[in-house]
């Protein structure tokens, strides 16, 4: 099912994705927050090349840089990366729930993930996008109530944890969300959407602006919300955070579902499904039984891949472009 999101929804989805990551991975340094924002910005800029044209999902986005069979394989690699993020998010999400509910079995926590998957299959990103637009309703009362708590900032200026960098940002959701966004003037935009979203002068710049604004808002808000604590266990904050986590999980599951459903051909679809299933089990097994040092290395490897894969895409694109320009020049020479 091909579904799209509006620029407003892109803002809230990016906002929720980042803020959820900050809370989920318990970032406690200003430098780490700034680093995450910087990494996100790099990914957003990388994505902007493809944002200048319409794409309908991750596979379409990748094939813009690397067409053909290589692009299909690369999409699979991106899917493995998203699985890593999904599993990590689920584990941390489960832990955050376990802090509240010691009496709950594990399957109940995973049932939320299943629910996200179901919704992602049923309505694609449209439902998740609309859901994210409800965030201000939980956020506004929180902003008013929060300053009445005890002032106890948890973010420090002295700490610079290397492991904190890249812990909650992955390139795949950034590319995926950007590629799913429709702006006025795009093909297939309804009259209602056309009117609600005034046409931007430059599509890529507009979407980049939206994403950066969302990331900056999330970073600033994280700083504000972690300044105060509530003795009463922060029920309001918990409700807000769980909503953020559900959105984050929905985005990650949505990537997998969308990429599989949009894959051209049964063979590619089966291959993607197999890659996803194997990755889920592998990452789950690794996170359960692996030596902490090895687990850390695996994490570093995945994070390196997160940076390298988009860079590789860019290199392939540049080489292809150069080649095609050369070919054109030669043609001109020979015709002359």
């Amino acid at each position: 099912m091909r579904t799209h999101i509006t620029p407003v929804q892109l803002f809230f989805l990016v906002f929720a994705y980042l803020l959820s990551g900050f809370f989920l991975f318990n970032i406690h340094s200003y430098y780490a927050v700034a680093a995450q924002f910087a990494v996100f910005s790099v990914f957003a800029v990388m994505a902007s090349g493809a944002l200048s044209r319409r794409s309908t999902g991750l596979s379409d986005f990748v094939s813009f840089y690397v067409p053909g069979a290589a692009g299909t394989v690369l999409t699979g690699a991106f899917l493995v990366l998203s699985v890593f993020q999904t599993v990590r998010t689920t584990v941390f999400y489960g832990e955050s729930i376990a802090r509240y509910c010691t009496f709950l079995p594990w399957w109940m926590i995973f049932s939320v993930l299943l629910l996200c998957a179901f919704l992602a299959v049923k309505r694609g990103m449209t439902a998740v996008g609309r859901f994210s637009e409800l965030l201000p309703f939980l956020l506004v009362p929180l902003l008013f109530v929060r300053p009445f708590g005890d002032f106890a900032p948890t973010l420090s200026l002295s700490d610079f944890p290397v492991s904190g960098v890249l812990s909650c940002v992955s390139c795949v959701p950034v590319f995926f969300l950007a590629s799913k966004t429709l702006v006025s003037g795009d093909e297939g935009v309804s009259d209602a959407m056309q009117s609600a979203n005034p046409p931007p002068v430059r599509r890529a710049a507009f979407l980049l602006q939206v994403m950066l604004a969302a990331a900056a808002s999330a970073s600033l808000l994280y700083g504000f919300l972690t300044m105060f604590t509530f003795r009463a266990g922060d029920v309001f904050l918990s409700l807000f955070l769980w909503m953020l986590h559900i959105i984050r999980l929905s985005i990650l599951v949505g990537i997998a579902v969308d990429s599989v459903s949009q894959a051209s051909g049964t063979g590619v679809r089966t291959a993607y499904t197999a890659v996803l299933a194997v990755s889920v089990f592998a990452v789950l097994a690794a996170s359960q039984s692996m030596d902490p040092v090895l687990r850390g290395r695996l994490g570093t490897a995945v994070l390196a891949a997160d940076l390298l894969l988009p860079a590789a895409c860019g290199v392939v694109f540049a080489v292809r472009r150069r080649g095609s320009r050369r070919g054109e020049k030669q043609k001109k020479k020979s015709s002359a």
Binding site: T6, V8, Q9, I97, Y100, C101, F103, L104, M108, V112, L115, L119, K122, R123, T126, A127, G129, R130, F131, E133, L134, P136, F137, S190, D191, A192, M193, S195, A196, R231, A232, G233, V235, S238, L239, W242, M243, I246
Partner: protein, 481 residues
């Protein structure tokens, strides 16, 4: 003597046999015989005398009677009847059918003589206002359409008539503003009405069940009102009104979540005050939905999250109670619903007294007898009172609140959050005739947001909500091309 006259007369007598209220008046003017078929009281005898019998007899006496009689009958609404089905339908709709010698094709003329006596317009009891019109719809569909026309003097206000119900043959009218309402939505509404397969439509509620989105939605996707000014305002926003003959409640589609927070009187007040009161309404709505469930989740499963003095307060109030807190909340919640239902069903004069006795005396006695605790009573009563602030969701909220209490009691905060998130996700996907239910805030529509929690002055609401009209319509200029 024409044999066709006798044949038609026999057909009528046969079709309407054993109907004591079916009347058959036969008149003879020289060589011509005329019969008038109608249903007593359903057709007005005064109209029949004045617009059918008198003109014909005058014309005959003056020698100006000429057949066919269409030119003699002075009623403005007459119609030739092609077959017997149309003729019997005309009689059953309250019209008089006139047939005479020499009428060789068709089944006579239908003359509009429907007795339209009924309740006169009065103030709707369910939607009272201090400032604003005190006029409400009545049971007459024609009258209701007229009340809307009286407010919107434009040829753009279109009306389509349909008949539904195999036995009841109820007239249903669809009214909309051309150029503002989305044509595809109008077509969809008409398609849904025409697809109604039932024997009788006795109230607009019947139509609502058939045209709503989803088979059994918990929250309504079709709006309703007894106020012509409110429905007129909705038409101006591109909505469609469905008038059902016999019902004083007019349906409106699409119906969005935000409409429950809007009250007609808001537009007559200062936007500042209207905004304030809307925020209060929204807060009360959330209180009605979530307060008892949150109370149960925190005090049953997560006592460590609550301040010690609150725990002590509740514990002291409940120290001799026979039930757990979860069961106490559920029982009081159900008891309150019983008292409310009794108050509604009792005759008006007794109902309020029963409500008072039920809620005050029973509540007080229950605390004194040690069957219920004051904190639980306060929580349940507060939620119940807050529920009355958004009438369209009153019934749905009761069920939803019950489910939330059960889930929160069993799974604690996790259950509470999961159920709240699940229902929000469900509502995000919900639509009313294709329009997102949470519009204008999900998906966001900036024109629509001016009339949601924060209300802009009327002069600032220049555009019709895009999500409803599905195109940009500027209120003073019409559709933007």
């Amino acid at each position: 003597m024409s044999s066709r006259y006798d044949t038609v007369k026999r057909e009528f007598s046969e079709a309407f046999r054993d109907m004591s209220d079916f009347s058959f008046r036969e008149l003879v003017f020289g060589e011509h015989r005329i019969f008038i078929a109608y249903i007593s009281n359903f057709s007005s005898k005064l109209y029949i005398n004045k617009y059918v019998i008198e003109p014909i007899s005058h014309a005959y006496e003056n020698g100006t009677a000429n057949f066919p009689l269409e030119s003699v009958i002075t009623n403005v609404k007459i119609e030739g009847l092609a077959d017997f089905t149309a003729a019997s339908r005309a009689v059953l709709s309250g019209n008089a059918v006139v047939f005479y010698d020499g009428y060789e094709s068709g089944y006579g003329i239908s003359v509009f003589t429907k007795n339209e006596e009924g309740r006169s317009t009065s103030e709707p009891e369910t939607e009272n206002v201090i400032r604003g019109p005190h006029e409400g719809f009545t049971e007459s569909g024609e009258n209701n359409a007229m009340l809307l026309r009286r407010r919107l003097h434009t040829a753009s206000l279109k009306r389509r008539d349909m008949t539904v119900g195999a036995v009841s043959q109820t007239s249903v009218s669809v009214m909309y503003l051309e150029g503002v309402a989305d044509p595809s939505t109008v077509e969809e509404v008409c398609r849904r009405i025409l697809a109604i397969k039932t024997d009788a439509v006795l109230d607009s509620g019947y139509v609502e069940i058939f045209i709503q989105d989803g088979k059994t939605p918990l929250y309504p996707t079709v709006g309703n009102s007894e106020r012509p000014d409110k429905v007129a305002a909705k038409l101006l926003e591109g909505r469609i009104a469905v008038i059902v003959d016999g019902s004083p409640v007019v349906l409106t589609v699409p119906f969005l979540f935000c409409e429950a927070l809007q009250v007609t009187e808001d537009y007559s007040k200062s936007p500042w005050y209207a905004t304030f009161i809307r925020i209060i309404r929204f807060a009360a709505f959330l209180t009605a939905l979530y307060l008892p469930a949150l109370f149960v989740a925190l005090f049953v499963r997560h006592r460590d999250l609550m301040p010690a003095y609150l725990i002590t307060l509740v514990e002291e109030a409940r120290h001799s109670l026979p039930f757990s807190l979860f069961w106490e909340v559920l029982i009081i919640f159900l008891l309150f619903e019983v008292v409310r239902e009794v108050g509604l069903r009792m005759p008006k004069a007794v109902g309020s007294a029963v409500g008072l006795v039920g809620s005050l005396i029973l509540g007080d006695s229950a605390i004194e007898a040690g069957i219920a605790s004051a904190p639980v009573l306060i929580v349940v009563a507060l939620a119940a009172v807050c529920n009355f602030i958004v009438p369209p969701y009153m019934n749905s909220n009761i069920l939803y609140r019950f489910l939330m209490i059960v889930v929160s009691g069993v799974f604690g905060l996790y259950g509470f959050f999961a159920a709240a998130m699940l229902s929000l996700l469900h509502m995000c996907m919900k639509t009313s005739v294709g329009v997102p239910y949470f519009s204008p805030f999900a998906p966001m529509d900036f024109a629509g947001l001016k009339d949601f929690l924060f209300m802009a002055p009327i002069w600032a609401m220049k555009r019709v909500p895009v999500s409803i009209a599905r195109k940009e319509v500027i209120r003073t200029k019409g559709e933007k091309r």
